[in-house]
């Protein structure tokens, strides 16, 4: 594209770049100037928020809190992935089992993860263990359901071929079922990623003595609004970065999938489309 414009291609590049960035830049600048002489106690100037943010990153308080929270998120999500994928492969492939457990799964997954939080936290107290448990419990359903869907979507010609060649079961699961279901599994994990952050935040708001949610809610209790804002902005950055990281990993794992020509890929017409369908 840039080549065709000739020797001034860099102008084109800058314009392209600017179309993506001008609005966020303008909005942040507006926030900065409008809030600069803010008299409202609850809406401190952006400069003050940034100062608190940099200060608490510098002294390690925020990073420590983030490390605690994200370790819980990572562990809980990993547990959910292992459980969701393995049970999903089993249930998805075994049609007798699937038809039997489906109503139970539909019933259990309808119970919102956030509603389980107070029940678990009062029973097992606060600390990493219960937090990880509620995160895993909330995140397992999207992954389980997507894995089941992914396995069900495999063309019967593929499974028939595998059977005709008498592939050993372990090989069949690893080389046929799992790769075929991976696009759907990744879609499930992406949903669970959002769920895990929400559950992490809610569980730390409702109880706990460490983590990002606690950093924010202690700002409320000590009437330090700039701490509340700084923590919220920081969670936003973490959420954004984890999503970006996820998309990069997904592109790498699913490179073969995204390369499939449009006509043969039944569900997805473009990468952007795929992301939107999942949201």
């Amino acid at each position: 594209m840039a080549r065709r414009i000739g020797k001034h291609w860099w102008i084109y590049e800058i314009v392209q770049f600017a179309t993506y960035f001008w609005l966020p830049v303008v909005l942040v600048a507006l926030w900065w100037f409008i809030s600069s002489d803010s008299q409202s106690f609850f809406m401190p100037p952006l400069s003050e928020i940034v100062q608190t943010l940099l200060n608490d990153i510098g002294n390690g308080e925020l990073l420590e809190a983030a490390a605690f929270s994200m370790r819980n998120v990572g562990t809980g999500l990993s547990a959910a992935i292992v459980l969701g994928v393995s049970f999903g492969l089993l249930i998805g492939y075994n049609s007798v089992l699937r038809s039997a457990v489906w109503p139970l799964i539909a019933f259990l997954r309808a119970i919102p993860g956030v509603a389980i939080i107070p029940i678990v936290l009062v029973a097992f107290g606060v600390g990493p263990g219960p937090q990880i448990f509620v995160i895993a419990l909330g995140c397992v359903w999207p992954i389980l359901l997507n894995t089941i869907d992914g396995v069900r979507g495999i063309q019967s010609s593929i499974t028939d071929t595998a059977r005709a060649y008498r592939l050993p079961r372990a090989l069949f699961i690893r080389q046929v079922l799992l790769p075929a279901a991976t696009p759907q599994i990744m879609a499930g994990i992406r949903i669970s990623l959002a769920v895990s952050l929400t559950i992490m935040v809610v569980s730390e708001f409702s109880a706990g003595n460490q983590g990002l949610g606690v950093y924010i809610s202690s700002g409320v209790q000590s009437f330090a609004p700039s701490q509340v804002w700084a923590g919220t902005v920081f969670i936003g950055l973490i959420g954004y970065l984890t999503n970006v990281a996820f998309v990069l990993i997904e592109r790498r794992i699913l490179a073969w999938y995204f390369e499939i020509p449009r006509r043969t890929a039944t569900k997805i017409t473009s990468i952007a489309g795929a992301e939107n369908e999942r949201a």
Partner: protein, 252 residues
């Protein structure tokens, strides 16, 4: 017939494992009450006035938040989807907003608006806004080029273009977004009620838990799940009615 037997059997096994684990594992009722107690609690709740008030409040606030999010999300989404330049300019903001765990905004709104229904509705609206927005953008972008050229050739005024062309052609996608948002509205509502003192299912649940009435708390969690299933079924019906033309189009 065997299918029904099998399905009932899975529920029976689930209940039996629960009952036996509590009975022989000497689990304190604080941690996991006996399944029969939970069943009794679900019945007991139906006789309490506070239960109906809590459900009504949660549903009302979720509906108001959802309505606000629908109006804003659809109009912004269709506009963004129809204008590629706008889509590029807002992409970073939207990506940031959708990956933000919106419930983390709770303390800020708690500071600004206090523990009120207003605060809850605001958070619900923010949570529901993004799924509707994204699907609306996607729907408007997907409009086929013949239609686009026709609209241009006839120089349709923007109002007509929006209401007669863009909105109907995007409506199947918008409804998908709406369906996601309906579930989100209940989730955010319950999450806000659990973490702040505003009335609703979540508040009742958290309070029951604070009094160590775990069976009542679990019963509320089950009702929250049933509520989610019911609103989902309602949206299903709505979807079938509104986009019947789209479905029949596909079949033909």
């Amino acid at each position: 017939m065997t299918l029904i037997v099998r399905r009932l059997a899975t529920f029976a096994i689930f209940g039996l494992v629960w009952a036996l684990a509590v009975h022989f594992g000497n689990v304190s009722p604080n941690i996991l009450p006996q399944i029969t107690d939970v069943a009794l609690a679900t019945v007991e709740l139906l006789g309490r006035d506070t239960f109906y008030i809590a459900v009504a409040t949660t549903v009302r606030d979720a509906a108001i938040g959802l309505a606000i999010a629908s109006v804003l999300g659809v109009s912004a989404g269709v506009a963004i989807g129809a204008m590629p330049a706008l889509e590029r300019s807002t992409r970073l903001l939207i990506d940031f907003g959708r990956s933000f765990p919106q419930i983390a905004l709770l303390p800020i709104f708690l500071l600004i608006l206090g523990a009120s229904s207003q605060m809850k509705v605001t958070l619900i609206a923010i949570g529901c806004f993004f799924p509707i927005l994204l699907q609306s953008i996607y729907g408007a972008r997907k409009m086929n080029s013949t239609l686009q050229d026709t609209v241009r050739a006839f120089r349709l005024p923007w109002r007509m273009r929006f209401f007669r062309v863009l909105l109907p052609s995007a409506s199947p996608f918008i409804l998908t977004g709406f369906r996601i948002a309906v579930v989100v509205s209940i989730l955010v509502s319950v999450a806000v009620e659990i973490t702040s003192p505003v009335t609703g299912i979540g508040r009742e649940l958290a309070e029951a838990r604070d009094f160590y009435e775990t069976d009542i708390a679990i019963a509320y969690a089950i009702y929250a799940g049933i509520l989610g299933v019911l609103v989902n079924a309602a949206v299903d019906q709505l979807e079938r009615r509104i986009v019947r033309w789209h479905l029949s189009d596909k079949e033909a």
